[in-house]
Structure formats: C-alpha cells, structure tokens
C-alpha cells in the first residue's frame, strides 16, 4: 500500500508539469493582451496611440523572450517572433516569413519603414502617413515596396533552436517556485497572497456545505431506504428531487429577489442585502466572521442542492445492495432491518460514493462562480474570472496549479480509502 501511495505521489509531478505546459500554451494563444490591460488600468489608450509606452511595458514584462526552452521553426525564422512588440507588426512579420523571406531582410524592411515614417512625421504630412500605415495591413504590398525576390529562400527546411533558460516558461517556473507565483498585474500584490485570501472566503461557505451535505445526506439516505412505500418518505423524496434538479443560479436569484427586499411584504425581508462589508485593517478571518450573516444565503443554496444529491446517491447505493444475497443471509440469521442496514449494508453501499465525496471536496476549493457573483463574495471563482478577463496570468496560473494539486491529491485519498473499504480492490493490486 505504501509503495502504491508513493508511486502515485511521484506521478503528481509530471502531471502538474503537463498541466502547466498546456495552460502556458493556451495563455500564449488567447487574444487578450496583458500589456493593454495594464495600460487600461493606468488610464491610457490602446497601443496605437501610445506605442512608446506599450513597448516599455512589453519589455518590462519580459514578453520579448522566447516562449519555451526550444522551438522547431523554418530556417528563415528569427530566434523568436516575440521580438516584435506590436501585435500588428508580429502578424505582418509572420506573413512575410511564411512567404519565405529571410528574417534579416524582414527586420531591415521594418527599419526602412520606420525611417520613412519618421521622415514623414518631420514633414507633418498626415495623408502620406496614413497611406503608409495602410501598407502594414497587406503583406503583399508591403513586400513589394521594401523587399525583393533575392531575399527569398527556396524550399524551407526546419531547424532546431535551443533558447536556453532565458525563456518565458522558465521565468514563470522560477517565479512560481521561489517568488510566490509572481505578482498580480492589477495591484502588484503577490499572486499567492491574493489566492490565499480568496481561498479563505470560498472555504468559509463551501466547507460548511460539504460537512452539512455529507452528514445530513447520509442520515436522510439511510432514512429513505428503510421503507420505500412509506407516505412521509415518498413526500421527502419528491422534495429532494425538486432541489436536486433546480439550477443553483436560479435558486440563488429567487432567494435574492424574495428574501432580501421589502418589495413582497416586510416579513419576507429576512436576510441582509448582498455585498460584503469591508472592515479596513482587519484580517481576512475576522472579516469572514463579521460578515457571516451575508454567507447564510449561499450556504443554504449550496447545501439544499448537494444535500439532495448526496442523499439520492446514498439511497441508490443502499437499494442496490439490499437485493444481494448476503442481506438475505443476515435476515435469515434473525437480524432486524435497522441492524442489517447499519452493520452490513452501509459499508458496502458507501464504497462507490467515496470517489464522489472526494470530487466534492476538491470542487469545494474551486468555489462556485455563480454564487460568488450573485452574492458578491470575493472568493476563488470570482478571482479566477477576473484574472482571466484581464489576462492576469500569474494569478490564474497560481489558482490552476493549486486546484489541480488539490484535485489530484483528493482522488489519491479517494483511491486509498476505496482500497481500505473494499478488500477486493486491495487484493487485486
């Protein structure tokens, strides 16, 4: 068993490595531009107006480095295309390189373009300047003006480029391991500290929900399976089915509409209106404690849904087990139904649910974006959403790595518990 756990733990590292590479590749290919978000936050217009500042920020963030440790590109390509800071230039250069121009000639053509532009700016010839800018939209006309066919390669062969440690992935890895995942571009705080705060907020309501749903779900599931034809139990089952199928965001909105306002009579205004009060200078835990009345509605919403889900699963598991032979044997020995359920059936019925519980525990860490948006809680879901919408990759990667690690470890614990409860699995391995 110990060897198995150690083997699984060793496999965590390559899996996390793979996830980080996939996420890094995705992040390099999204249209959002972190430089633009930073400029927007400083109240500046887009790149075309403030080219100088754009370039400054671009080099500041070290975005001109190559993406990865190595690359396999055609021989006419430069060391890295990231050396063109402006996105439009990069696209144009890519087009030119694709039609097999040499990268030195392309670089020279950009230089002569800049020179011509500079000359026109001295003359204040705005019409000609505009015409010149239009050239950049079309690779054909640009190449006709600044490049000639002698710069072309014939058939292009691939070449392997080694970039060494000075690349963006390595920079990120270094920050992640030694500098708390780098700093957030929105406020300059370290990514890990932001995630830590959000995680506390999220866990404050998801963990309570997790405990409630498992404790009460087990009890209700046991109660329901005791006698399938009892009237009261049938009604309870229908109510649970109602909460099981209800969309969480709808339930949350309805509770918000009916129970936080005076519009439908003052007696329905039970809960405080949404939005977290901020107490400056207090620690996050103290703030959560002071805002606990605001967390009641999200807890109710989540646990109604998960309670229904868990009790359904438990009931189904028990009903499946009850038709097996060993239950009949227990009855024939003269045991009461209650005893059979508690001593014999429950343990067997629980084994399939372990994976489910562990999955629920893992998702408790990632929070619920819907509830956090509706009730204004600064938790993990909202932090991730905000980070991704302004391309704040340091924070996004920090969340991703943390949640992936939690998920993998939760499933590992699930598998170990599974083997503990179910000897069949243990002996097969």
């Amino acid at each position: 068993m110990l060897a198995y756990i150690l083997k699984r733990l060793l496999l965590v590292v390559p899996t996390l490595f793979l996830i980080s590479i996939i996420a890094f590749y995705l992040s390099r290919n999204t249209p959002q531009d972190e430089v633009v978000s930073i400029m927007n936050m400083r109240g500046l217009e887009a790149e075309s107006q403030n080219e100088r500042i754009y370039k400054e920020v671009y080099y500041d963030l070290k975005l001109d480095r190559p993406n990865f440790y190595f690359s396999i590109v055609p021989r006419n390509y430069p060391h890295t295309l990231n050396s063109y800071p402006i996105a439009k230039d990069r696209a144009l250069a890519k087009d030119l390189l694709k039609s097999s121009y040499d990268h030195k000639a392309v670089k020279a053509s950009f230089r002569s373009f800049e020179a011509e532009k500079h000359a026109l700016e001295e003359e204040h010839n705005s019409q000609a300047l505009l015409d010149l800018e239009f050239l950049k939209d079309d690779a054909d006309s640009f190449s006709r003006k600044y490049l000639d066919d002698s710069d072309k390669y014939g058939f292009i062969l691939p070449s392997f480029r080694w970039h060494g440690l000075d690349n963006q992935y390595n920079l990120w890895l270094e920050q992640a391991l030694f500098h708390e995942f780098g700093v957030s571009i929105s406020d300059g705080k370290s990514a890990l500290s932001k995630v830590r705060k959000a995680l506390l907020w999220t866990l404050s309501f998801t963990l309570i929900d997790f405990i409630i749903s498992i404790a009460f779900g087990l009890m209700i599931g046991l109660y329901l399976s005791r006698d399938p034809r009892n009237k009261a139990q049938m009604i309870l089952r229908q109510i649970l089915y109602l909460f099981y199928a209800i969309p969480v965001f709808w339930l949350a909105t309805m509770l918000l509409i009916y129970f936080t306002t005076d519009d439908y009579g003052s007696w329905t205004n039970i809960f405080p209106s949404v939005g977290i009060d901020i107490y400056p200078g207090e620690s996050t835990l103290k703030q959560i404690f002071l805002n606990f009345d605001k967390l009641l509605l999200p807890i109710i919403c989540l646990s109604l849904h998960s309670l229904a889900y868990v009790s359904r699963m438990v009931e189904n598991g028990i009903t499946d087990e009850l038709s097996k032979d060993y239950v009949l044997l227990s009855y024939s020995k003269g045991m009461q139904k209650k005893q059979v359920l508690k001593r014999e059936v429950l343990k067997n019925a629980m084994t399939p649910s372990i994976t489910l519980f562990m999955g629920a525990l893992a998702s408790a860490f990632s929070g619920s974006l819907v509830l956090e948006v509706i009730y204004g809680i600064p938790g993990m879901g909202r932090l991730m959403y905000n980070a991704l919408s302004i391309a704040d990759w340091n924070v996004a990667f920090c969340i991703l790595m943390l949640l992936s690690l939690v998920t993998i470890i939760a499933y590992l614990i699930g598998d170990v518990l599974y083997a503990y409860f179910n000897p069949k699995v243990r002996f097969n391995n």
Partner: protein, 370 residues
C-alpha cells in the same frame, strides 16, 4: 434504428409528449413567436415571413412578438400590470424586460437555443467519446501492434506534415501530404512484414492519462480560457467547449461497457472468422452499447442545458444581444422587483432538466429490470 425505437417505447406517454412538445417548440420557434406574418400576400405574390407593413392580408403567429422585438411603450411591465397594448392578442402575457422585449417570445427562442446546444453537444461528445472508449477498451495496452519500422515512418511523416501545415503556404502543405500518402501506400505499407519486430501501442494508458489530465484541470478554468480564445462570441464556441468537457465522461462510461462486451463469445467468433476490427465495432459492439448510450445522452442533455444557461446567466461566451433562458434570468439580478424575469425562464430550465433526468432514470430502471 430498431433498438432505438424499442427504447423509446419504454417511455411513458407523458414523458413522450413532453419531449415532443419541447422539440416542436424549439424547431418551429419562428412560427410560434414572430413579429412578422408567417405567410402573407404582398405585391410580389405570396411571401413567407413578410413584414407586417408590407401587406394587408396575412397569417400572423400566435404570439405577435419575436425575441428581439422591443416594445417601447411597455418597458419592465409585469404579467398583471396595466399594459399599453391594443387588445388581448397583443398583451405581454409573461411581462417584458427593461428594453421592452417580450418574455414569452424570449422563452420560445431560448428553447431553440437550449435544444440546439443540448442536441449538438450530446451528438458530438458521444461520437468522440465512443471512439476513444473503443480504442482504449477494445485494444487495451497491447491489442494494437504495429511494425517498429512503420511506427518510425509514421512519426516522421506526421511530424513533417504538421510542420509544413503550420509554417508554409497551403499549396506546399497539400502537395507534400499527397506525396507522403503516395509514398506510404506504395512503399512503406508493403515493406517488411516481420511479425517479431512489432511494438504495442499503449492506447488504454494514453487515453486514460489524457482523461486524468483533463479532469484535474478545474472545469471553470477550462471553460473560461477556451472561451476567451475566441474573438467573437457565438453559440458554436459554447457547444465546442461543452463537448470538450463532456467526452471524458462518456469515454469512461463506455469503456466499462465495452470491456464487458469484449469478453463475449460472439466477439471471439467474429474475430476467428477474420472480420475486421472496424466491422466488429460497427456491427457487434455499437448495437450492444445503444442502451447505455441513450441513458448517458439523456443525462448529458440535461447537463448541457444547465451549463449553457449558467454561462449565459454569467454573460460568458454568448453574444450580448442573444436571448436565452439564462440571459433573461440575468436581468432579474439588476432589477429585483421584476420577479417575472426570474420565475418563468427558471421554470423552463427546471422542467427541461427534470424531464431529461426522469427519462434517463426511467430507461435505467427498465433496462436493469430486463
């Protein structure tokens, strides 16, 4: 097909009716809620979906509003409020939103969106999922053996092809791929057939590892990153992302089924008379997996609709002006007194989700009893 019809016969009459009504409303949404005439006589003859101004005689639809039509006189009116309309026919039975768009018409258009998302997601993810399940369960870790030399050739060829697809002009890539296919069929395929030098492809391991990696990335992160990669929001992106999230579930489920079927005697006899793997898959495995496929699809339909409405509630992925069930509920958050904006679309989602879950449960129960 026969198996499919046999399963449908398991459903109760009520469920059958509900499914048909939902599909009918979704498919014929243009005939039910439209601010134009369905058929009208205009100057240029009989015309379908003609503007009300262009003709005098025409067949109007039962609800005289389309989802995007804005009634400027009736903004944010409830179903029981006084409405500035001419007669009962033009009344907004379920109220309007802050722009004056009719909620009932929005619901009907929303059912079309939900149907589209559910159906396409289920179809695409089932096809992808079952192929992966077949590779992983039928071949296992040592079922597919290939010549070592052929594997090397295959790797080289695909590497070269991918390289030129990315980095060169289209005609070069196409010519090259034709040349490589010709070389493969004429030379490599008929080269040495030395059975001793084969290598087993660990397909099962590869597929399961891929699923593990996808599962350990949080779903929300995957959705947000993938949707942000598209410049223009559209329903197709949402469907694509839902398929990416859904196929591992189907593969896992189907893998377990195919592992069971694989051991049956008729598969062995089919193999022994020399039937190809493709034929075994199509004629002997697919028909046996129809029941689990239908059950999983039914739950998948509910999940897809629920996820889509959650996304449009959050305003992620779909265009801003697209009316869906989720986006109507979203507006209720900003106007807490407009209870009708939250109640009716929520009921629609709830009923559909419960319908598909009930269908899945019913089939599951019946098939277990068999």
């Amino acid at each position: 097909m026969k198996a499919f019809i046999r399963h449908i016969a398991f459903l109760s009459k009520r469920q059958m009716c509900a499914l048909l009504i939902f599909a009918g409303i979704a498919i014929f949404h243009q005939f039910i809620a439209n601010d134009k005439y369905i058929v009208a006589k205009t100057k240029s003859g009989i015309e379908f979906f003609a503007d009300k101004g262009s003709s005098q005689y025409g067949l109007p639809s039962p609800i005289p509003y389309s989802a995007s039509f804005m009634d400027r006189n009736n903004r944010s009116v409830g179903p029981f409020d006084k409405q500035d309309v001419s007669g009962l026919y033009h009344r907004h039975w379920l109220g309007t939103d802050s722009l004056g768009r009719d909620v009932l018409a929005g619901l009907i258009y929303g059912s079309y969106v939900a149907f589209q998302v559910g159906l396409l997601t289920v179809l695409a993810s089932t096809v992808i999922g079952i192929f992966f399940a077949f590779w992983s369960a039928y071949y296992g870790d040592d079922g597919l053996r290939i010549d070592r030399s052929k594997i090397i050739w295959l790797l080289i060829f695909s590497g070269v092809l991918i390289f030129y697809m990315i980095y060169s002009e289209l005609w070069i890539a196409i010519t090259l791929s034709l040349v490589l296919i010709a070389v493969w069929t004429l030379i490599v395929r008929n080269s040495s057939r030395d059975r001793t030098k084969t290598l087993a492809l660990p397909l099962d391991l590869l597929v399961m590892k891929l699923i593990e990696v996808i599962n350990s990335i949080p779903g929300l992160f995957l959705i947000l990153v993938l949707l942000s990669m598209f410049v223009k929001p559209s329903i197709w992106n949402v469907i694509l992302v839902l398929v990416i999230l859904r196929w591992p579930v189907i593969t896992r489920h189907m893998r377990a089924e195919i592992l069971k079927i694989k051991e049956e005697d008729y598969i062995m006899s089919a193999k022994s008379i020399g039937q190809s793997d493709l034929r075994i898959f199509l004629y002997h495995i697919i028909p046996m997996t129809i029941s689990p496929i239908i059950i999983v699809s039914s739950f998948g339909f509910a999940t897809a609709i629920l996820l889509e409405s959650t996304l449009s509630f959050l305003g992620i992925g779909l265009a801003v002006d697209q009316q869906t069930w989720g986006s109507i509920i979203k507006q209720a958050r900003f106007d807490l007194s407009a209870w009708w904006l939250a109640l009716f679309p929520g009921m629609a989602i709830y009923l559909i989700v419960i319908l598909f879950n009930a269908v899945g449960d019913e089939l599951n129960k019946k098939l277990r009893a068999d």
